[in-house]
Amino acid sequence: MSGRLIDNYIKALSELEEFAFQRAIVQRLLVALNNFQTVPTYPQGDGGLDGYSHKGTRAYCCYGLKYDAAKTPLKRSKQIATKFSGDLRRLYELDAQDKTKKFDESKTKLVQYDNDALMRIFGAVPAACDRICHVSLIANWFESHTPLGTIKQNAAKYASLSQCRWITPDADVVLKGPKEFADQYGADESTMMWLKHQEMLAKLDEEAPLVEVPHGPTFDSKMQAAEALLPDSRDDVKQVAESLRKDWQWVIAFERNLSDRLPQLHAALEHGRKRLLKLVLTHSASTPWDSINRAQEFSETVFSDDFLEPYGKGIVRDLASGEVARLVGGCPINWKPKAANVNL
């Protein structure tokens, strides 16, 4: 693996915070371990686990601290120790006896409770030999050894107080930062591409709903015409209209992003749009409807040329959908009632 790739990966990981960091870690573990199981937080919490592997004997907890909220190494160390100690308490099924008081590690009395989320995640309490025996605590910052001692001491204390239904009393607890994580699980081009585009995708998802589609009654009048032509499928048409509008908004936001940052790719998008329309027009389909039916397929083919390599299949698919929606919204594709037969 190239040093540059791994260095870029470590840097990118360390810049992610909160849920974005967790997603990046989980994404990499999914690729690196074929027995890795993610644990979604919804609907009722993750029980202290972000994922597990090796038949439930290895647990993974992530923490992407917010750098703005903890600016000094001391504060960061403290936050990391607090967060992961909380995760360990849940694995050991311990909670404060008096929950009304602020939690204080040295003073708060801990009592056993049943972690129902773990029961839902594993289905049944495992046999002693199948319990969690290794916990990886993965943080986006690990530049101080301070959290190590706190976490080790807390883990030992929790083990001594717990019935240890899910985790063995002598489980290994290992803290990893981006570098340690990358050293163990590596990185590849697809992980880097995924990471690189997460920020852009998040930005697009945020911006797209606010994008105003170009003025003019065209899009709405076409959908109204479709509703009039299909009185029995009005709800379907409304759904399609909503979907097309969203795709169109997304592609406008994407186009703006390209125009601001990558004018050459913006030019490729402009050329691709023309090619797509030409393909829809000139394809030797049996009927014009067949051609329109295949617009999405044509669109994915056309935009793959320039966008597959830098952005991957997911974005090509969204881009293709958006450009197809634009063909309707921007005028080229329309429909009209069947002409009545005229007898001369």
Binding site: L229, L230, V240, S259, E270, R273, V324, N334, W335
Partner: protein, 178 residues
Amino acid sequence: MSTYSPLKKLAALLAASGAQPDITPERLAPSTLYDLEYRVVVVAMAFQIHAASDKHSSQPRIQNRRLKLLQFIAMRPWLVSVIREWSLSRRDAQRSLDSEEGLRRGFISDAMHDDVIDFLVAGGALRRQESHVVSGTNSSVIFHLSSEAMERSLFQEELTALRELNSVVITNEMLEGW
């Protein structure tokens, strides 16, 4: 490859109803970013507002790179806040490089601007002078276009952005590529 498409669903319904499709290729509006006349007017306005004579030249002149950045932002007025932030943060190494990286990459790779300048130089409206562009023998075209646009209140967003950029410090370092 996925073939899911809302249009496909609609097309199937419409085809079954007997509706006729209508494809009108000439209605595909190209982006104004590739419209030479639009680009010429934006360059003309940027030149008129930001070019100035100095001790090296009695005629108004402006660094080519500066003009490239100004016209790039004028066509994307939402970037004024980005360059303002970049300008303010240029002495602060701790601030994120993200905004400047995107903007710098964007304006530097705006190849069409170079073609527009070549076009204006060929027509005598502008003249190249080392790293600057200076008004040419036929510079009245530039000033006429710019004045007309301003008098007729055309391209107001671009004009406002160009005027706002007067208050942003753009250093030579910001104009350099990597």
